[in-house]
């Protein structure tokens, strides 16, 4: 029997895996994508059910340790003040992401040259910009042209509605004379390819049954499947198999507890900044004693998470806070670039979030004792619900080798694969940034009319942005992959996810992940043409 050998095996069907699989299939490659989770169907989405809020604490909790689904692997967060958040399934974490979809700034790629910190990326902003634009041909992105915080960004759909709360905070930013702009949102504010127009359901972070949020299952996957990509769901990769120190031949994976082998000429990892180093470190062999692609010793190192601060303001007026796309309203890049007078390098974004749903509102307020039990409980709810505004401070997290992912010596998933262990501490630079951001956000709140504020940092359950653990660079001694996401050690191994980020910027990484994935697919294509002996059939 002939063994089916893919030109390319993509591991992971999330933001990066979807983009790279689609792009390679479009170039005519025979692509197989292997994913540990499954597709979600309309009936699965909490927002279609009366008790939708309750899913936030169970099946749709962003913490895989709490969610504990069949597709989830445990994560040891005990050595980190921030716990890892993700979703495992077709679409990956974009299923639960809020859709905030800004690009990096040009300066993010030149932090060493400009500010003397971290490293410069081996690619220019102009090159990345080309891939951002290509990505936007497939992904609905709403926003507004003319933002003075960015070089021109074109082909945006109309911005999401600011809501009364966003509009009120805009007044606060204007009073301070600070930058704000409608959020770049991965949301179809009008019909776009396979995506329907947004209905302002609200809880984007429980998945979007309307298919308005640009999660990878509704953007790239329908196209990728129509181009013939073979998607294997409920299959968990345990390791990548090496045939010598410079070549891999396929992957071992579990399906229904049975271990199998899948052969491929090229392997592309797209499992995020924790899942990717986990597989590489678990792929030790006599050819790669410290883990695959790890001659630099940097696999798992330089983990960046984007520590967040949270600021809430209370207002006298009803701001209809909980209406609209949960994570997208307006944002400010006033303090994004380095200003040495502030006492820290680089900067942060102020992202305005919509208000919580009723259950979240009560749980949050009871926990921090700003709402009572007993006789006054109902009155307090009616007095305060929907009268709050919310800002998240997203700090640029600089890469440091002391922040790393390794394999837990005892914790494993259901298939016996070692779980990742997070070793992370917040740097003094970031602490200063968090503190600065909280003060500035409080100023905005009061300028907008808040009567009271509440704030804390870091936000514990906020480790969504997992970057830097297999970084790109030109020097094999100080990086894991080159500027095309190709392993320095193993040329037929590529990485397409946020592991390859050199720095983190101070924005949500999804747009950059997908742009880079398209670039990696160009790298794969170029390598294949030069190096893989059998010619693929022209399509």
């Amino acid at each position: 029997m002939d063994e089916y050998i893919s030109d390319v095996i993509v591991i992971g069907a999330g933001a990066a895996g979807a983009a790279v699989a689609y792009s390679l299939a479009k170039k005519g490659f025979k692509v197989t994508c292997i994913e540990q989770g499954d597709f979600l169907e309309l009936k699965d989405y909490p927002s279609t059910k009366a008790n939708w809020e309750t899913y936030k604490i169970s099946k749709f909790n962003p913490d895989p340790n709490i969610r504990g689904g069949r597709a989830d692997y445990p994560v040891n967060n005990s050595n980190s003040p921030i716990s890892i958040a993700n979703y495992n399934g077709v679409g990956g974490s974009t299923i639960l992401f809020s859709g905030h979809y800004p690009r990096l700034h040009p300066s993010d790629l030149r932090t060493k040259s400009l500010d003397g910190v971290a490293e410069d990326w081996p690619i220019s902003y102009e090159e990345l910009e080309n891939y951002y634009d290509r990505n936007q041909e497939n992904v609905a992105v709403a926003g507004l042209e003319g933002d003075p915080a960015y070089p021109p960004i074109k082909n945006l759909l109309p911005p999401v509605s600011l809501g009364k709360m966003g509009d009120t905070l805009a007044n606060g930013f204007n009073k301070k004379g600070w930058h704000w702009w409608p959020a770049y949102s991965a949301i179809a504010t009008k019909a776009f390819h396979f995506q329907n127009k947004c209905l302002n359901l609200g809880p984007c972070n429980l998945g979007c049954p309307q298919k308005a949020k640009s999660s990878a299952d509704v953007t790239y996957w329908p196209k990728a499947l129509s181009l013939g990509v073979k998607l294997m769901t409920n299959c968990r990769v345990s390791k990548i198999i090496s045939v010598n120190s410079h070549q891999v031949s396929g992957v071992k994976y579990f399906i229904n507890k049975e271990e199998k082998f899948l052969a491929g000429k090229i392997i592309v990892l797209a499992c995020n900044g924790v899942g990717t180093p986990r597989i590489l470190l678990n792929s030790k062999s006599k050819f790669a004693v410290d883990g695959l692609a790890n001659s630099s010793g940097l696999v798992g190192k330089n983990l960046m998470i984007h520590p967040l601060a949270y600021i809430e303001g209370e207002f006298d007026d009803d701001l209809e806070s909980n209406l609209g796309p949960q994570g997208c309203s307006i944002s400010s890049h006033e303090f994004y670039e380095t200003n040495t007078a502030r006492g820290f390098s680089r900067g942060y974004t102020m992202q305005v979030l919509r208000g919580p749903s009723p259950i979240e509102f009560v749980i949050g307020n009871i926990k921090r004792k700003s709402m009572s039990w007993g006789q006054t409980h109902s009155e307090e709810f009616l007095d305060r619900f929907n009268k709050t505004a919310h800002i998240s401070i997203i700090c640029e997290d600089l890469p440091e080798e002391i922040n790393f992912v390794d394999l837990d010596p005892s914790l494993t998933d259901d298939d016996g694969i070692p779980a990742p262990r997070i070793n992370y501490r917040i740097s003094s630079n970031t602490k200063k940034m968090l503190s600065h951001g909280i003060k500035r956000a409080e100023e905005v709140m009061y300028a907008a009319g808040a009567t009271k504020t509440f704030c804390f940092a870091p936000v514990k359950a906020a480790g969504w942005h997992l970057m830097g653990t297999a970084r790109m660079g030109l020097d094999p001694l100080s990086s894991v992959v080159n500027e095309w996401g190709q392993s320095h050690d193993v040329p037929n191994l590529f990485i397409a996810d946020s592991s390859i980020f050199v720095t983190s910027g101070a924005v949500n990484p999804a747009a950059t992940i997908q742009a880079l994935a398209l670039k990696v697919s160009d790298g794969v294509s170029s390598f294949y043409k030069k190096s893989v002996p059998e010619k693929r059939a022209a399509k």
């Binding site: 939708w52 809020e53 604490i57 509009d167 204007n174 930058h179 209905l199 009871i366 007993g374």
Partner: protein, 145 residues
């Protein structure tokens, strides 16, 4: 029915606590906890806390030197709020269950003026906002490096 699996004493206990912490409001016509029987989901979750609930009862009985059912409601209420209560962390977890149960009830939601149908396919009307306000931001000029 899960109701059968929840011991009578535990069932009575959780309802009693519920009526203390979530009494509703006559003035605002908001029903209290005891206006409805707890759902099967809630009862299921509560059974996981049986040991802790017993510890909490014992703690209160020890503290007030009375059988639980003889302790004044206001004393129980004070103990729930006290940070030094050894079962405080347990009560934090328990309180999430009460909130989820109570704020999922149709009667509660209607009394508070909230919608009872799910977001999809209903959707929401959201204030568009005044983008003219961006003029000052735009006029401040480029801020990226």
């Amino acid at each position: 029915m899960m109701r059968k699996n929840l011991p009578e004493s535990l069932y009575a206990f959780v309802n009693y606590i519920g009526s203390i912490i979530l009494p509703g409001s006559m003035k605002l016509s908001v029903p209290g906890w005891d206006s409805e029987k707890p759902s099967n989901d809630f009862q299921n979750m509560i059974t996981k806390f049986e040991y802790e609930i017993n510890c909490f009862q014992e703690f209160l009985e020890e503290k007030y030197k009375k059988k639980f059912w003889k302790i004044d409601a206001s004393q129980i209420y004070d103990s729930i709020l006290e940070d030094s209560t050894p079962t405080r962390e347990f009560f934090r977890q328990l309180s999430d269950l009460y909130i989820i149960e109570y704020y999922s009830r149709t009667k509660t939601l209607l009394a508070l003026g909230l919608t009872i149908d799910p977001p999809f396919p209903r959707g929401n009307k959201v204030f568009v906002g005044d983008l003219e306000k961006l003029e000052t931001v735009f006029n401040n000029g480029r801020i990226y490096k």
